[in-house]
């Protein structure tokens, strides 16, 4: 209702002069590398203390509930290291290619910049993302259930060009990618994948890689589990067999209910999650127009369709995809509706370009048991309550 005449009921945000209107703002030299508004200072990566032994072999989580679109800002990309984040001097950076090649080679960073480069946007998901939910609900927020993922535009040289430069011998079938950090992270990668779409990347979202993401150079292994994207990449060895190193045998392998173990579970199957509303992003505005927003992705292609349910999977509605649909990249979806304030059981369900439809967690447990730790791509359920709070739940 409009009120006539002078009153004191006006919004002080309007009727009172605010400091940012009255005074000059900050001089431009104050932030030569720009930072977010101080009002956004709570938007940070977050850690779960009990999850890892210490702060060096550790992980933190992307605050998915605060983000929109498909690109993850560099400073918020979740961080996983096995021996801390190495600070590598680019002047002393070397990439060696050896093993079953005609010419074992050493490249400097400047050498890499002389190859033709490509720009491609990919998600990187840790194989253990959602791993804490295998036995049932545990984590209080999408940052912790799904935040071991980020989506970045990489600039880099196709690994194929570097391998061509060295000349892979006919017997060469596998690569060992190795990092320069104190873990000297190492993973075996089939040559076929390396020749297909792997990048040796030096930029993320247009700027140099962040130290915790492998500065100055990391491997990009599109669609495959994050551990294989070796950071601080120092060496590629060509061999005839896989190496069966620690992070591809004792870790990053999937123990099944029958006591046997799947190895080399590289691809990240199709998955999606509603990022808002979610436990850390409750509905504060009450009933009425409500935007449901979320992310979907597949390590095997694009996402042509995402479905949403409000009633725990009795009925489903197609969500609206917005933004680019890149291969092996995050896709953003929305569903807008008029919320009547009744409790809802929200889920999303991704379809990928191979026709695969994201399963329920229960369907995965039936196939794998609850001890496989990795590759939990089951559907997430959020319980939106009448007061706007959101809980992580499992439903029948």
């Amino acid at each position: 209702m409009l009120t006539a005449g002078p009153t004191l009921a006006g919004d002080p945000a309007i009727t009172e002069m605010q400091p940012w209107r009255r005074d000059l703002g900050d001089p431009i030299d104050d932030a030569l590398y720009g930072m977010p508004s101080p009002f956004e200072s709570d938007v940070t990566r977050g850690r779960v203390e009990w999850l890892t032994p210490d702060a060096y072999t550790a992980i933190n989580f992307t605050p998915l509930h605060e983000l929109d679109g498909i690109i993850t800002p560099n400073g918020l990309c979740f961080q996983r290291s096995h021996a801390g984040a190495a600070q590598v001097d680019p002047a002393k950076y070397r990439l060696m290619i050896n093993g079953l090649v005609d010419r074992p080679l050493v490249f400097t960073l400047q050498d890499l910049l002389r190859f033709p480069r490509e720009n491609r946007t990919y998600f990187l998901e840790c194989a253990a993302n959602s791993g804490m939910e295998w036995r049932g609900v545990q984590m209080d927020g999408v940052q912790f259930t799904h935040g071991m993922i980020h989506n970045v535009e990489y600039t880099g040289v196709p690994l194929r060009y570097l391998l061509d430069e060295a000349g892979v011998k006919t017997a060469g079938k596998w690569l060992l990618a190795e990092g320069a950090d104190a873990a000297a992270m190492s993973r075996s990668i089939p040559l076929e994948k390396a020749l297909d779409d792997c990048l040796v990347a030096f930029k993320m979202n247009g700027e140099a890689l962040r130290p915790e993401q492998g500065y100055p150079v990391r491997l990009v292994v599109p669609g495959w589990e994050g551990n294989m994207w070796v950071k601080w990449l120092r060496r590629i060895e060509v061999g005839d067999k896989p190496w069966h190193h620690r992070e591809e045998s004792s870790k990053y392998s999937d123990l099944m209910a029958d006591g046997r173990t799947r190895r080399f579970t590289w691809e990240m199957d199709a998955k999606s999650v509603i990022t808002s509303p979610s436990p850390q992003a409750p509905v504060l505005h009450g009933k009425g127009p409500l935007v449901v927003s979320g992310l979907a992705w597949s390590g095997r292609g694009t996402i042509p369709q995402v479905d949403i349910t409000l009633d725990g999977g009795i009925n489903w509605i197609k969500a609206r995809l917005s933004g680019p649909s890149f291969d092996k990249s995050l896709h953003r979806f929305y569903y807008e509706f008029d919320w009547d304030g009744r409790p809802l059981l929200l889920q999303s369900r991704a379809h990928d370009s191979t026709g695969y439809v994201q399963p329920t967690k229960e369907a995965l447990r039936k196939l794998r048991g609850v001890n496989s730790n990795y590759h939990n791509n089951g559907m997430q359920t959020w319980h939106l309550q009448s007061d706007g709070r959101v809980e992580n739940v499992e439903i029948s």
């Binding site: 009990w50 999850l51 890892t52 032994p53 072999t57 060696m96 050896n98 093993g99 010419r103 074992p104 080679l105 050493v106 050498d111 002389r114 190859f115 049932g136 609900v137 545990q138 209080d140 927020g141 060009y161 000349g167 104190a182 190492s186 060496r235 060895e237 069966h244 190193h245 620690r246 004792s250 123990l255 006591g259 046997r260 173990t261 799947r262 190895r263 080399f264 199957d269 436990p279 409750p282 504060l284 479905d307 999977g313 009795i314 009925n315 489903w316 369900r349 191979t354 695969y356 439809v357 399963p359 196939l367 319980h383 007061d387 706007g388 709070r389 992580n392 739940v393 499992e394 029948s396």
Partner: protein
């Protein structure tokens, strides 16, 4: 085909050829450079250096260099992994994945110790010492005798029990046929019930809350009422029947030097138990089972969520 089109294709082919040809970038890697970085070891023994080490030598080296994180008997400390034990647990509710019970290849131990455990986290170790550490890990897993000596020569003759337990990813064959199918859109099930929940701790101060809305911390605080008869917590807390619990999360067990612990507890202190999440969780589930002989007169908390809430409350209390 028109001559014009042929010309375009010829130009494209040329451009393609130019890319596939080496650019002559980089330089040849010298043998000493390759030797410095090519440290990897494979299951067939490729990459193993000359050397050997005995179980006895391994025990000394292990206690000196490894035990701080992995325990004197390779049983693991805190969330650092156990390297021994867990045989035949892979189908259990809580499997223990160790070198003996889980790892498929012994070569992985050499590669990993040399790669990541003798720098950064760990202590420098010679090739012989690494062989000795592995001999001791094998011994701790009851896989070799106490007089065993491991060397490059006999290394590949040692096969780990679970080598045959691994198989190549078969999701495409075993799972995808189940999930590549049209999705139900209407009336897909009769009813839905919530069967498990994590009551959210994220409740903004300005939110309209109904009477039932309690945070996990608040639930933990209520549960602590059961502990209050014997334990104090918070500002000015004193030891009573039980020790004060300020800052107990992350603290070594039995480390309150003003409290007279039971023998059972003192023993846990000797074994350097730390009250991390796992330890508190196990103790609060079954106090007598976790620390047999404890004088704490409490039967334990059955519900996972309640224990979680109580631990969250304990963790939130300052030192």
């Amino acid at each position: 085909m028109s001559r014009f089109l042929s010309l375009i294709i010829a130009v494209m082919l040329l451009a393609g050829t130019a890319l596939a040809d080496p650019l002559g970038l980089g330089r040849v890697a010298e043998p000493d450079e390759i030797a410095a970085w090519d440290i990897d070891v494979r299951p067939d023994g490729t990459g193993l250096p000359a050397g050997s080490g005995s179980v006895a030598m391994g025990e000394e080296v292990f206690v000196e260099k490894c035990a701080a994180c992995h325990g004197d008997f390779a049983e693991g400390v805190g969330r650092y992994p156990a390297l021994a034990g867990g045989m035949d647990t892979l189908q259990d509710e809580r499997p223990t994945r160790t070198v003996g019970s889980f790892w498929p290849y012994l070569s992985t131990t050499y590669d990993f110790i040399n790669r990541a455990m003798t720098v950064g986290y760990g202590e420098p170790a010679s090739d012989d010492e690494i062989y000795a550490i592995i001999a001791y890990i094998l011994y701790s897993n009851d896989l070799v005798d106490e007089d065993f000596v491991l060397s490059r020569e006999n290394f590949t003759s040692i096969r780990l029990p679970n080598e045959g337990g691994f198989y190549m990813d078969d999701r495409i064959q075993t799972e995808h046929p189940l999930f590549i199918r049209p999705a139900c859109m209407k009336n897909c099930k009769d009813e839905v019930q919530i069967i498990a929940r994590v009551e959210t701790a994220f409740i903004p101060a300005d939110m309209n809350r109904d009477g039932s809305g309690k945070t996990r911390l608040a639930i933990g605080e209520t549960l602590f009422g059961q502990c209050r008869a014997c334990h104090q917590i918070g500002d000015g807390a004193q030891n009573g029947v039980g020790p004060v619990l300020n800052g107990i999360f992350g603290k070594p067990a039995g480390s309150n030097d003003r409290f007279d612990y039971s023998d059972a507890f003192a023993m846990m202190a000797d074994e350097e138990l730390v009250w991390d999440f796992d330890a508190l969780n196990a103790f609060l589930k079954d106090p007598q089972g976790f620390i047999p002989g404890t004088t704490m007169n409490f039967t334990g908390i059955e519900e996972d969520f309640d224990r979680n809430a109580l631990i969250a409350y304990l963790q939130a209390q300052g030192p």
